[in-house]
């Protein structure tokens, strides 16, 4: 198969979306029919995987349930320990398309290696894109967790050198700020020392994040993880949003996936937690309202997704606009006398929607 270079041209809208979505589609993409993402999802073995590992009681299943099953954080206290590998496929409801493998805390990869169960290990790590390792900072089992992480990383790297490692220092609601940074430092230090002895410290990049299911930090962390599955659309999305924000005098814009409440793209300016939380809360509110009152049938058939709302808070306008079945744009606009009028925002949004659909068409998603 010769490499076809599909360059995205966004007409008239004149923003950076053209900036080079150079796709060199592999055979997998081409074999799938262009419009249906669903065809791809059926071949479940080929799906990208996110692995969720960690010691028992670290909070893996809680994370899974809170993010993908909308469980409230308080209910997670009563979860039973996981005994077998839970594979959940989230593609049917979501824009994202991956499998999440929730591992039991007892499963230690290096034990499998000791038993020479290589096929299982390969099955686990092949096609895995991200490995999330959850550590409970309150437990006094740091060294065990670090050892486990180290063993897992080595095995994973052996099978699949492209896998990305994320360490969630979880339950950060129970520790204060100083302890958080201390924890991160301690973990980084120890795991780097271990990797250094293995000679891998420069090849493996591990990202540490502090998370908690009681606030939005777990959603933010999971968003960043999921964005790594979307490398090919991330930069065009970001450029589109950059242009959108600058032309509408917005403060910040996110593209959210509606079902797992995580954002898949944002503009390039930095943001802080309050901003993100505000957008999340708005999304929650509208989604809940929609669940009660919205009639989906007609809309979906016609291909019209028109959930749209504007909330005014003091000086701030919050916009929520649905892009397609799974995606919605949430943005914050500061209200000023010079602010863009609603009409311009609406027009620009139509352009954005168009651009995003173009990107998705090219990316076969």
């Amino acid at each position: 198969m010769t490499n076809e270079v599909a360059t995205l041209e966004v007409p008239e809208w004149s923003i950076a979306a053209d900036s080079a979505l150079k796709l060199e589609p592999g055979s997998r993409q081409l074999s799938a029919s262009p419009s249906s993402a669903s065809l791809l999802t059926n071949t479940s073995s080929n799906k990208p995987k996110i692995l969720l590992m960690g010691l028992s009681k670290a909070g893996k299943t809680s994370i899974r349930n809170v993010i993908f099953h909308k469980m409230s954080a308080n209910e997670t206290q009563f979860l039973d320990p996981t005994h077998k590998i839970d594979k959940i496929d989230i593609s049917n409801k979501s824009f994202l398309d991956f499998q999440l493998w929730d591992f039991p805390g007892k499963l230690d990869i290096s034990h499998l290696r000791d038993k020479e169960d290589t096929s299982t290990i390969e099955k686990i790590f092949v096609e895995a894109r991200v490995l999330i390792f959850v550590i409970d900072p309150v437990e006094e089992k740091h060294s065990i967790a670090i050892d486990r992480l180290h063993g897992t990383i080595l095995e994973a790297y052996k099978i699949n050198p492209k896998i990305k490692f994320e360490v969630f220092i979880h339950k950060s609601d129970s520790i204060n700020e100083d302890q958080k940074i201390d924890n991160i430092r301690e973990m980084t230090h120890r795991i780097n020392r271990k990797l250094m002895t293995a000679g891998l410290q420069d090849r493996i990049l591990i990202s540490f994040r502090t998370t908690s299911i009681y606030d939005h930090s777990i959603f933010e962390a999971m968003s960043i993880v999921c964005q790594q599955l979307l490398e090919n659309v991330l930069s065009p999305f970001e450029n589109i949003l950059n242009a959108f924000v600058s032309s509408n005098k917005m403060e910040k814009a996110f593209i959210f996936d509606l079902h797992p409440k995580i954002f898949i793209a944002t503009d390039s300016s930095t943001f802080d937690m309050p901003t993100y939380e505000l957008c999340c809360d708005m999304l929650d509110l509208i989604a809940d309202m929609g669940c009660i009152y919205q009639e989906y049938e007609g809309g979906e058939e016609r291909g019209v997704f028109s959930t749209c709302s504007v909330i005014k808070l003091n000086d701030t306008l919050l916009h929520l606009k649905q892009i397609n079945r799974h995606l919605a744009l949430v943005c914050i606009q500061l209200q000023q006398e010079t602010a863009c009028t609603q009409g311009i925002v609406d027009y620009n949004f139509q352009q954005l929607k168009h651009g995003i659909q173009e990107v998705l068409k090219v990316a076969n998603l």
Partner: protein, 837 residues
């Protein structure tokens, strides 16, 4: 510092650069930092792809020639993409580097308005199975401060590129997480710091890249130094231009100042200062003139704060945008110019360029509530706050509530800002509030309050109603761990008043008091030793006689201090051991532990030593003795005010120790008894009955023999009574018994009341009808002569004997304790339900 922070013209300059206000946070600013001598500032303000060159001069203000230019791509096309980031070449005034939103990096000539070179920031990404060039947003760009051809830029893609602009493409690439900020170290052109989307700050060295290039092989170049800076993202980093290796980083809620030390690889404690900002500081700048000043801006707060990093709790200065003008909302870009020293801000939303003068800065100190905090030598902390009664009253209330917690330990809810301003303006305070003064919360009272669980022992001592601002003084001990009850116990257990020479006793007790931070008590002890202990040195003959007498009455000597066997009172009054007695002798050990031989061997040597030592002292004394000094001493000692006398006296004490010793005769002329009495009374007035009584015990002999007017009056007896009472409240029975045994006659009477006679087990059980009980004397029954045996082990009890007063049975304390842990009735099986406590 005030002088160095002179802004160039005391007027604020403000000018709108672009007339239309539809800029949408897309304004960028670059300032030429190369000029060192001229008094003008050159700035380049960019709105999307249009830029203007401004010159700002004193008096003339901002001039921009009304010309605007446009960035163009090299093929002549207009670059219509918004500018993401820009930096002005520090060496060449006509060159800037611009990063556009379509990821073009332009090397732009300002004079010809043409692009010299350009490069597209992309990276090939093959990690996900299919290869494509990704191009996430450019976030930062910077010229090397020393090499005018070296440009570095970072993108949200995890790569940093170093581009020598003479080359067609970047030649060095580093892998990093999404880059948010890159800054070259101004002191070392080869290294730069990178703030990334995760919590890390990484410092790279350009020279380290020789081995691998990321394009040729997928292996990241080893980084030089990396540390976790913030809990979440690290937004900005900034090197201090004045201090080498000092780096400021800003995170979501705070700014941290780091002393970067490369010697340790992962060292965890190089954090110097933490400044807590209320919002994320998106922009930080060091002052190029004053190394302590750091400006920060967070765009949700809409003001600029200038921090003095030495005083990190309050902003040093504060620039506030006009809050009424809504169009001013927008992020501010900061630039701190060196010469002239000025802070430039550019509002990204409406392109207002402001040149801030010091005059419109708000001095945050003026807004701080005036309060003060100070420690007294009494180990108390006072907190004075002046407040407007209407507003601040609730705050005071919460403070007083917050000071008490469950355990009784004291926590001062001292706000950080208070500690920061720990200058107790004594002069100013006393001039305003002459009536404010320390109220000594005395040790014993406080300890009583603690023991009884009193909730409110906060003493509000001064509330002058006439004052415009009310002042409160909360006086309370600072010590949280060792509160006064603990101190009292410790002192009671460790004070010695017998067994050693007077001087040694005094020194020992002084040390004990010092260990509890009771400095004034310690100095009083030293004073006592100066006043009285000299006798022993200067009167060797008296000592010798005394020792000889002791030797003759050896048994009496060794029995001194044993309480349970109630010895004759004379033994307690014996003069203490010689100074050379090596073994510290605890007062309450029973006599078996010390053998008589050791005592008898020791003294002869020590006499000789005494004579030897005495000789040089007397010579020195002849030189040093001056009556003036002695008078001075007596003056000082007559006012044992710990506030004033404390520290100065210690030095004085050491300087004049020798002379004082030998001028005893002069001192004796002064009425020492009265002095001592004053001192003791003062101590008691402070509430320290403990020390006063212990001093009396130590001085007992001296007082009765050498000082006539010092006799125990009713007052002193009262002291003793209260001290003994306190001791019993703290359940320090043995100390109490020792004090009573050692105390002067009127007190010792107390002891007789407390004598509980031990009775012979055998005789008293046999002879119950007669009512007479056989009394045990030193373990032997006065009637039958049988030794008291332990009811459990049936062995004669040597040492401590514990018995039931109901049935007279008893035995070894540890046996009894064992027995009564599990049993209720008497171990001798007499059927009596003994009460063991």
């Amino acid at each position: 510092m005030e002088k160095s922070l002179r802004f160039w013209n005391e007027e604020k300059i403000q000018k709108n650069i672009f007339n239309d206000s539809q800029s949408g946070n897309m304004i960028k600013l670059a300032v030429w930092t190369g000029s060192k001598s001229t008094t003008e500032i050159r700035a380049c303000v960019i709105k999307r792809h249009i830029y203007k060159i401004l010159t700002i001069k004193d008096k003339e203000g901002v001039s921009d020639n009304n010309k605007s230019y446009q960035f163009k791509l090299p093929d002549g096309e207009d670059a219509i993409f918004p500018t993401q980031t820009v930096d002005w070449n520090p060496e060449h005034i006509d060159q800037i580097a611009v990063g556009l939103a379509n990821n073009y990096v332009l090397h732009w000539n300002l004079t010809t308005a043409k692009c010299i070179r350009f490069h597209k920031a992309t990276c090939e990404n093959k990690s996900s199975g299919h290869s494509f060039t990704s191009s996430r947003t450019l976030t930062c760009i910077q010229w090397s401060p020393k090499n005018p051809n070296l440009l570095i830029y970072g993108t949200k893609d995890p790569f940093i590129n170093v581009w020598d602009v003479r080359e067609p493409a970047p030649d060095q690439t580093y892998a990093n997480d999404g880059v948010l900020d890159i800054k070259f170290d101004p002191h070392d052109e080869n290294q730069f710091a990178v703030a990334s989307e995760n919590h890390d700050v990484t410092i790279y060295d350009l020279r380290n890249t020789s081995t691998e290039k990321i394009r040729s092989e997928k292996k990241p170049v080893s980084k030089k130094f990396k540390f976790s800076a913030h809990e979440n993202r690290t937004l900005k980093c900034e090197w201090n231009p004045k201090i080498r290796n000092q780096l400021a980083t800003s995170g979501q809620t705070n700014i941290k100042i780091w002393a970067v030390d490369y010697s340790k690889e992962y060292h965890l404690h190089n954090e110097m200062t933490l400044i807590t900002t209320r919002n994320s500081a998106y922009s930080i700048k060091w002052s190029p003139v004053c190394e302590y000043l750091l400006a920060s801006h967070s765009h949700s707060s809409r003001y600029v704060e200038i921090w003095d990093i030495r005083r990190r709790f309050k902003p040093y200065r504060h620039f506030r945008e006009d809050p009424t003008n809504k169009s001013k909302l927008g992020r501010l870009l900061l630039h701190w110019h060196e010469s002239p020293h000025a802070l430039l801000t550019l509002n990204t939303n409406n392109a207002d360029l402001s040149m801030h003068a010091r005059r419109d800065a708000i001095n945050m100190e003026n807004f701080a509530p005036s309060c003060a905090i100070s420690c007294s030598p009494y180990d108390e902390m006072s907190f004075v706050t002046a407040y407007k009664p209407s507003k601040r009253q609730p705050r005071i209330r919460t403070k007083s509530e917050g000071t008490k917690d469950n355990t009784g330990s004291v926590h001062f809810p001292v706000e950080n800002s208070l500690v920061d301003r720990l200058t107790f303006r004594k002069g100013g305070l006393s001039s305003e509030q002459p009536s404010v003064s320390f109220s000594p919360v005395t040790a014993s009272y406080v300890s009583e309050e603690y023991s009884s669980g009193n909730e409110s022992h906060e003493q509000i001592t001064a509330i002058p109603d006439t004052a415009p601002d009310r002042s409160f003084i909360f006086t309370r001990p600072i010590s949280s761990k060792e509160d006064y009850s603990f101190k009292f116990r410790y002192l009671a257990k460790n004070y010695k008043f017998s067994g050693l020479s007077l001087e040694e006793l005094c020194h020992h007790n002084a040390k004990i008091a010092e260990s509890q931070a009771l400095l004034h008590v310690a100095s009083n002890w030293r004073l006592l030793s100066v006043l009285f202990a000299s006798e022993e040195v200067t009167m060797p003959f008296y000592e010798e006689e005394n020792q000889k007498r002791n030797k003759r009455s050896g048994t009496v000597y060794s029995d001194r201090g044993t309480i349970l066997t109630s010895e004759s009172p004379e033994s307690a009054e014996q003069e203490s051991d010689s100074d050379h007695m090596e073994y510290p002798r605890p007062s309450y050990v029973s006599e078996e532990e010390l053998s008589d031989e050791e005592y008898n061997i020791e003294p002869p040597d020590s006499y000789q030593n005494w004579d030897m030592l005495d000789e040089p002292f007397t010579q020195q004394a002849a030189l040093n003795t001056e009556s003036t000094e002695c008078e001075e001493l007596s003056d000082r000692s007559s006012q044992p005010d710990p506030d004033q006398g404390l520290y100065s006296f210690d030095n004085f004490h050491q300087d004049t120790m020798a002379s004082v010793r030998h001028s005893r005769t002069e001192l004796m002329k002064i009425n020492m008894g009265a002095l001592t009495r004053d001192m003791l009374e003062d101590l008691v007035n402070e509430g320290d009955v403990q020390t006063a009584c212990t001093m009396l015990l130590v001085l007992e002999k001296k007082l009765t023999k050498t000082i006539d007017p010092m006799s125990l009056g009713d007052l002193e007896i009262n002291w003793f009574h209260s001290y003994i009472d306190l001791l019993s409240r703290f359940q320090l029975w043995s100390v109490q018994a020792a004090v009573v045994a050692q105390a002067p006659d009127p007190i010792k009477v107390l002891n007789t009341k407390n004598v509980i006679t031990a009775m012979c087990t055998k005789c008293s059980t046999n002879d119950k009808v007669g009512g007479k009980r056989a009394v045990l004397h030193s373990g032997l029954c006065s009637r039958c002569g049988i030794v008291a045996v332990c009811s459990l082990c049936r062995i004669a009890v040597k040492g401590l004997y514990i018995w039931c007063q109901g049935c007279c049975h008893g035995g070894h304390p540890h046996h009894m304790r064992q027995w009564f842990e599990n049993n209720r009735l008497c171990p001798a099986a007499c059927g009596h339900a003994c009460q063991f406590s």
